[in-house]
């Protein structure tokens, strides 16, 4: 149920009243309309054609309603005053002129399929609000019970064993055990980010359906699992000297 805006409703009512008033006095202004038509700049042959068409239509209607009795009005004579407001001629009795045909889609993005839409308020905003509340509450409650680490004052003369990067860089630190630092610290992560940026330009498959994208999905899953495994090993399975340990034997060497 959509509401019609106030000003549009008023305009429609005014137009309706005007049209009704005109049809009541239709017989009289017929002549003036004729004159104004002649005075206007519409080419004569077009006027003739419109008149003929009007007469033909009036005749056809009469035929249809007149139960077989032919009452065709002679062409060129003014058509009988219709009962309702005139449909084809405008308020002044002008014949409308076709200036150009604008095909749909030429100046405006036409949506071939109507899209099922809902109002952002309340449908989306309520969800977002609840999500914001949830994440704030979660962070607050978690922070009440778990304290952020603050170790002793930074000391250049005391290197902790092991020294670990933040958890999201531990995959890179793990690679350091296998490759030259330039490869592990710059080349591999640089390539990773570069490939990630290029992903939409390399993947030419237009489909979004998972069943059509088996290769892309496998590749991404392997890629992410590769980093996840490295981060987990670097976080939990590396002890003093960054040597491999089992956390259930040697304990955790991990700070967030």
């Amino acid at each position: 149920m959509t509401e019609i805006p106030e000003h549009l409703r008023k305009r429609a009512e005014a137009a309706k009243a005007k049209a009704a008033g005109e049809s009541a006095a239709a017989a009289e202004p017929e002549l003036t309309a004729e004159q104004s038509e002649a005075a206007s700049k519409i080419p004569a042959h077009l006027l003739e054609r419109a008149k003929a068409a009007k007469a033909k239509r009036a005749g056809g209607e009469a035929e249809a309603s007149g139960s077989g009795v032919a009452t065709a009005t002679p062409a060129g004579s003014p058509p009988a005053a219709p009962d309702g407001p005139p449909l084809v001629s405008g308020p002044e009795g002008h014949t409308q002129r076709l200036l150009t045909v604008v095909k749909s889609g030429s100046i405006q993005d036409v949506k071939a399929k109507p899209v099922d839409k809902v109002h952002t308020w309340p449908h989306l905003l309520v969800i977002e609000f609840v999500a914001a509340l949830f994440i704030t509450a979660f962070t607050t409650i978690f922070s009440i019970f778990v304290n952020a680490p603050l170790l002793e004052h930074a000391n250049f003369n005391k290197t902790p064993n092991p020294s670990k990067a933040p958890w999201y860089f531990l995959g890179l630190q793990e690679l350091l055990t296998m490759f030259h630092p330039m490869v592990a610290g710059v080349t591999i992560p640089g390539m990773g980010i570069f490939l990630l940026i290029l992903a939409p330009y390399m993947d030419k498959n237009p489909s979004q359906k998972p069943e059509d994208r088996k290769f892309a999905i496998s590749l991404m899953t392997i890629h992410m699992m590769f980093w996840a495994v490295l981060v987990i090993i670097g976080s939990f399975f590396r002890g003093p000297g960054f040597n491999f340990v089992f956390p259930w034997q040697a304990g955790l060497f991990f700070e967030l």
Binding site: L124, P160, A165
Partner: protein, 265 residues
């Protein structure tokens, strides 16, 4: 006149209070100040009754119109599709900004003062410990949600045309998130911060050709020290947030321009 006052007195008390309240409400809502704050069509001018027009006005006549269209695809509001991960990343960013501003009141980025400031913040500032904890955990959480958001977008194939460039902006945002987290890591100036950053910057020192220069610029010297701290502090509280906000604005704008969120599959 007298009878009017008599009538007024005869009314039961709750009725009189109610009348006065509604009168007060009308005079406030009719005032110039009120009408200057809320634009024509705002739901705060005439009150909200649930109708399709008012539902549109909530968005159209508020600042939210910069973020959301009046209507979205029905499928776009399914939580099971997005898991709200992009939104959560954004909320966490706001939470981090708010808690971070609080922390800035109590922190001096020098090697001599930094650790003591954090320690004092935790022990003698009201809610200091709580707010620092929130800042820390929200930061880790944001790295996680941004990463998961990227995975979600990939698995939905949402990086495909016309959304290719928004994916590129997304990767930039992921990188900026990591940098924001990493620059903040140094600021407590404890053993964890110092040596984690040492490991990280040593790796960057192996950048081909420019390695030692990159490291020098990042550290503000040959070794980590007070100069590094002020450098990373400015990066953390000013420069990177400034850059990430610009990229976020483009990211959100492109989501709308590229036809809303992708799907359904």
């Amino acid at each position: 006149m007298a009878t009017e006052i008599d009538d007024e007195i005869k009314k039961p008390m709750p009725q009189r209070v109610q009348d006065q309240m509604s009168q007060l409400g009308n005079s406030i809502q009719g005032s110039q100040a009120w009408n200057s704050i809320f634009r024509p069509g705002s739901i705060f001018r005439k009150g909200y009754t649930d109708s399709p027009r008012n539902r549109s006005y909530v968005i159209m006549n508020s600042v939210l119109y910069h973020l959301h269209p009046v209507k979205v695809k029905r499928h776009a509001v399914k939580v099971s599709y997005t898991l709200c991960l992009g939104g959560l990343s954004f909320f966490l960013f706001i939470l981090l900004t708010v808690t971070g501003i609080f922390l800035m009141f109590f922190y001096r980025p020098t090697a001599a003062a930094a650790w003591n400031d954090i320690y004092t913040l935790q022990s003698s500032v009201t809610f200091g410990l709580l707010v620092r904890n929130m800042h820390r955990w929200a930061a880790h959480l944001m790295v996680l949600t941004v990463f998961l958001h990227m995975a979600r977008v990939f698995y939905h194939g949402a990086y495909k045309p016309p959304r290719e460039f928004n994916w590129v902006i997304g990767v930039v945002l992921l990188t900026l998130t990591l940098l924001l987290s990493f620059t903040g890591y140094l600021l407590p100036w404890d053993q964890l911060a110092l040596w984690a950053v040492t490991v990280g910057t040593n790796m960057m020192g192996y950048t081909p050709v420019l390695g030692s220069q990159v490291r020098f610029v990042l550290l503000g010297g040959a070794e980590i020290g007070t100069d590094t701290l002020i450098r990373w502090y400015v990066l953390h509280v000013l420069m990177l947030p400034f850059v990430i906000v610009i990229f976020m604005a483009i990211h959100f704008w492109r989501v709308r321009k590229d036809g809303g969120i992708s799907g359904p599959l």
